[in-house]
């Protein structure tokens, strides 16, 4: 095995040659030609920005106007005119349960992060007060009952219960008999009273 000194010498001798290379002649001229050509050529990035900025500005303006002048939805009027008593039972339910596209909000990142910290914001106020809500099953059945009309009277609940009448026994009072003074003690007046059943 060779000693460390010999290996060190070998490495030291080989190491300068590792980066000992000369560029081809004319490197400076090539570098300068390329640099000057790039420096004098029109700046591509400038034209890119010059085109991009107006396009983005127009898009923003369009979005701004589109959100401000959004047509009002037919949700409020549909809810106002839909009367459960006058219309078919299915129609108001459909009108109320189908939300207008204007009410649907897309979830945004800001909304998602803020929603974790604070309670959800109140729904936007509608033109109709009270705000229409979907009918409960009881309301639906009431509408159905009203539209169908009352055909028969509901059966009386008093007739079904069986309560016996209270019978009170007749009072019987016997005529008083006046006894003699020197006779036997006066008899007691028997009063019989039947207890009610």
């Amino acid at each position: 095995m060779r000693n460390d000194h010999e290996l060190d010498e070998l490495i030291n001798a080989a190491l300068p040659g590792y980066s000992a290379a000369e560029p081809r002649p004319g490197l400076e001229q090539r570098v300068m030609a390329a640099s000057v050509a790039v420096g004098r050529s029109p700046n591509r990035s400038f034209w890119g920005w010059a085109l991009a900025i107006p396009v983005v500005a127009c898009l923003l303006l369009f979005l701004l106007f589109a959100t401000r002048h959004r047509p009002s939805s037919g949700f409020a009027t549909a809810g106002l005119h839909a009367s459960p008593a006058t219309s078919a039972p299915d129609q108001p339910k459909l009108a109320l349960q189908t939300p207008s596209p204007a009410i649907i909000k897309k979830p945004t990142l800001r909304g998602l992060t803020a929603g974790a910290r604070k309670p959800p914001p109140a729904l936007p106020k509608q033109d109709v007060f009270p705000t229409p809500t979907p009918l409960t099953p009881e309301e639906t059945s009431l509408i159905a009952l009203g539209s169908a009309g009352v055909q028969t009277a509901p059966p009386s609940t008093a007739a079904t219960t069986d309560i016996d009448p209270i019978r009170i026994a007749e009072l019987r009072i016997e005529p008083l008999s006046v006894p003699l003074l020197d006779s036997a003690p006066s008899p007691t007046v028997p009063i019989s009273k039947d207890s009610p059943q």
């Binding site: 060190d8 590792y18 290379a21 490197l27 400076e28 570098v31 390329a34 640099s35 420096g39």
Partner: protein, 183 residues
């Protein structure tokens, strides 16, 4: 009129200054790039790209230490080049030693004119963290402080890595020679 002529002169003066910088440092930048890439054509591409990016950004006007700045810029460009064009260092070295063992044996190669080339291939096969400091140290003009500035690591780390790189090289060379003696 006077202002106009001054405006016309200013780019010319800047071009002249930049040309002077290119003439002063292009060879040094080439050597840094070559130490990293070990290919003259690729090193020239890196030199051009280094000076081009300097010219575009205008950063060359505010350079304090030309050599350190340019060496770091060239090193970064070379590293980017290596990432976009990965070279199979290990395969080259294996192929070199396979060829050597089949023809003349590693020690004979090491003892002849090809011995330096064999050491170079062993350096190429080193891991990046050891190869970069060693390659830059092969430039006689760079000391460990300048290498540390180029690589963006402490000077002590550069010295440690240089020592480790040399140890790895010696171990590999020793193994190759042992194998030859065994034959």
């Amino acid at each position: 009129m006077g202002v106009r002529s001054y405006a016309d002169l200013q780019p010319k003066q800047e071009e002249a200054d930049f040309e002077s910088l290119v003439h002063r440092q292009s060879r040094f930048v080439f050597q840094v790039a070559y130490a990293m890439l070990r290919n003259s054509h690729n090193a020239e591409d890196v030199v051009q790209e280094t000076f081009l990016s300097l010219y575009r950004s205008g950063a060359w006007r505010h350079i304090k230490d030309e050599r350190a700045f340019l060496a770091r810029a060239a090193w970064r460009q070379a590293v980017d080049f290596l990432r976009s064009h990965p070279r199979r260092w290990g395969e080259d070295v294996e192929a070199a030693f396979t060829l050597a063992s089949s023809e003349a044996g590693p020690e004979e190669i090491l003892l002849t004119a090809d011995s330096h080339a064999a050491v170079h291939r062993l350096i190429d096969a080193l891991p990046e963290e050891l190869r970069h400091p060693l390659a830059l140290s092969s430039l006689q003009e760079l000391n460990s402080r300048e290498i540390a500035a180029i690589l963006g690591i402490p000077e002590g780390t550069v010295r440690t890595r240089l020592m480790r790189a040399r140890e790895v090289l010696k171990r590999k060379l020793s193994i190759q020679m042992e194998l030859h003696h065994a034959k």
